[in-house]
Symmetry: C2
Subunit: 305 residues, 2 copies
C-alpha cells in the first residue's frame, strides 16, 4: 500500500488533506441543511459533516493522493458521527483517493488485533468475512510496545495495508516523554529504530508498509530521523496552522521529494475563513480548499522536489 | 467520580467486569438469535453482543461497582458495533453500574478535546448541548504528553468524570518503551509522577479523578508505583487469563483494600467455557459469570482487605 501511496504522490503532490471537520469550520448554510434534515442533533451534525467532506473531496480529488479523517472529530458526535466517518472513507475511495484513518489506536495484543481488523482488515462473523471501516492506512500509538504493534503488521501483510506509528508528534508537549534520553539518545529515536525493524518485515517497494508520524514542528529531529530511517515513509502533521513551513520540510524528504507526505487540515478545509481565500465567500469553501491545496503544493514543491 | 467509584467498591468488591465480547465468547444460541434478526452481518453480530452484555450485566450488577467495555471489540464490527458499545454503556447505567470506557485515546490538544467531549463530556451542536458516549471514566494514552491529557482534565473538572492513564501496561512487551531508564529510573515512573501532578488539579476525596493503569502482571513495579502515587487510584488489568493472581495484588492496594480496582474480562464473561463453571452449560453463561465474580471476590478480598 505504501508503494501505491508513493506512486499517487508522484502524479499529484505530497499532500494529504486532513478531514477534521469541527462544526465551526463548516459554513452556516451547510450546517443549516444538516439541521433541516435531522435537527440540531448528532444526526444533523453528521449530515452536515458528510456534506461538507464530500464537497471538499470533490474539490481536491485530482490534486492529492489521499485524505486523512481524524476520527476524534467524528466520535464526538456519537454513533451518527462514527457513521459519517465510515461514509467519508467510502466516498473518498469512490473518488479514487487513499484514506489514512487518523485513529491513533494501540493496545495489548488481542485488543490491537481487533483494532487492526476493524480499521484495516476484516472479521469473520461465523464465516462471513466482513470488512470494518476499511481505511488504507491507520495511525498507531507505540506506547505498549511490539505486541501492540504486531497485529497491525499481520493485517498489513495479509491485506496490503499500511500504518503510521507515532514517533515524534507535532504538539508543544510532545517532548515531555518522547524526548527523554534513554541510553544517551531520545526515546523517539528508539521508537524510530523499532519502526524500521518492524517495517523490514513488511517491505513494499522502496519503503515499508510501516510509516512514521513525525511533526513538521520539529525540523531538526525530522532531519535526524530521516537519516536513521531510510525505509520508512513519513506522515508529517503540523504544517500551516500548527506552525510548520515548507522551507523547514526539505529535511524530512528524500531526494526528489520522495518518502514523505505532509498533512494540512484546518489550513485547507477552513481556508474559506481566512485571507486571501475568504474573498471567495463561505459558499465557495470548496474552491477555497482547492486553491489552498494548490498554494500548499507550490510552497512544498519549491522546497522539497 | 473517583469517590463514587471508591464508595461503590466499599459496598461490593474491587472488581470491574471487562465487557470485551469476542464472538467466540458468546454462546452459539445467543449468536443465532442475533443472526436470525439481521443475518451474519455487523448488525447481527452487534445484536448478539448487546444481548450477551445485557445478560452479563444483569447477572453481576449487584456484585460489582463497574463494567469496562473495551471499544476495540465493538469497533471491529463497524458502525453497528459502535452502536452496541453505546447501548452497552446506556444499559449498564440503567442497572446502576459505573462505566469505564477502555478506549485508550490520546492525541494533540484540540483532538484530545474532541475525544474528551465525545467519551466523557458533551458538544454544543449550534447551542444544543449533546453528550457523546457518556462513559464515567475513559482510559488515556500518555505518549503525547501534557497537552494531550489536559483536555481530559478539563472535562473531568467540569463534569465530575475520571480518567485512567496508561502507566505500566500488563502485556509482555510493555517494557520495551515503558521500562527504558530515563535519568536512572524507568519511563513509567516518570509518567506515574506526571499522573500524580495532573491529578492534584482534580482531587475528589482521598484520590484524584486521574487514575493510572498498572498491569497485574508486574507486581514489583505495582508496589513501587503504589508508594510513589498516594493520591492515584489504580485500574489493574491482567488478572486471570493474562496471569495475574490475587496474592500478587496486595501491593497495588492501600490498607483495607482501598485505592485500586482489578479488571477481569475473559475470566468472567467467558467463564462458561472453562471448569468448574462449564458444568452449568452454555445456556447459563450469565450464572457462570456471576459465580466467577464471586470466586474472584473471594480470591481478591482474602489478600487485599
Amino acid at each position: 500500500m505504501m508503494q501505491k501511496l508513493a506512486e499517487r504522490i508522484e502524479k499529484t503532490a505530497p499532500i494529504v488533506v486532513g478531514l477534521d471537520p469541527m462544526l465551526s469550520y463548516i459554513p452556516e448554510d451547510v450546517r443549516a441543511i444538516g439541521y433541516a434534515m435531522c435537527g440540531k442533533t448528532q444526526d444533523g451534525a453528521a449530515e452536515a459533516i458528510l456534506m461538507f467532506n464530500k464537497a471538499i473531496i470533490d474539490a481536491v480529488a485530482d490534486l492529492v493522493p489521499a485524505v486523512k479523517p481524524q476520527i476524534a472529530m467524528y466520535e464526538q458526535f456519537g454513533v451518527p458521527g462514527v457513521r459519517a466517518f465510515y461514509e467519508t472513507v467510502e466516498y473518498a475511495h469512490k473518488k479514487g483517493l487513499l484514506v489514512i484513518g487518523d485513529v491513533k489506536r494501540g493496545d495489548i495484543g488481542s485488543t490491537s488485533a481487533a483494532y487492526a481488523a476493524g480499521h484495516l482488515g476484516s472479521v469473520s462473523i461465523d464465516g462471513e468475512i466482513t470488512p470494518g471501516f476499511n481505511e488504507d492506512f491507520a495511525t498507531v500509538n507505540p506506547y505498549l510496545g511490539s505486541d501492540g504493534v504486531r497485529p497491525f503488521l499481520e493485517v498489513c501483510k495479509k491485506e496490503d495495508k499500511g500504518i503510521f506509528i507515532l514517533v515524534k508528534t507535532s504538539n508543544p508537549s510532545s517532548g515531555e516523554f518522547q524526548d527523554q534520553l534513554v541510553g544517551g539518545r531520545p526515546l523517539y529515536e528508539l521508537v524510530g529504530e523499532k519502526v524500521e525493524e518492524w517495517g523490514s518485515e513488511v517491505m513494499d517497494g522502496e519503503y515499508s508498509n510501516v510509516g512514521a508520524v513525525i511533526g513538521a514542528t520539529y525540523p531538526e529531529m525530522g532531519k535526524r530521523l530521516r537519516e536513521m530511517m531510510p525505509h520508512t515513509f513519513f506522515l508529517i502533521p503540523g504544517y500551516g496552522a500548527q506552525g510548520g513551513k515548507g522551507e523547514d520540510l526539505k529535511a524530512f524528504f528524500h531526494e526528489g521529494g520522495k518518502g514523505a507526505i505532509v498533512n494540512s487540515s484546518r489550513g485547507i478545509i477552513a481556508a474559506w475563513q481566512k485571507d486571501p481565500y475568504s474573498a471567495l465567500g463561505p459558499g465557495r469553501f470548496d474552491l477555497a480548499a482547492r486553491r489552498a491545496v494548490k498554494d500548499m503544493r507550490e510552497d512544498l514543491l519549491s522546497h522539497v522536489r
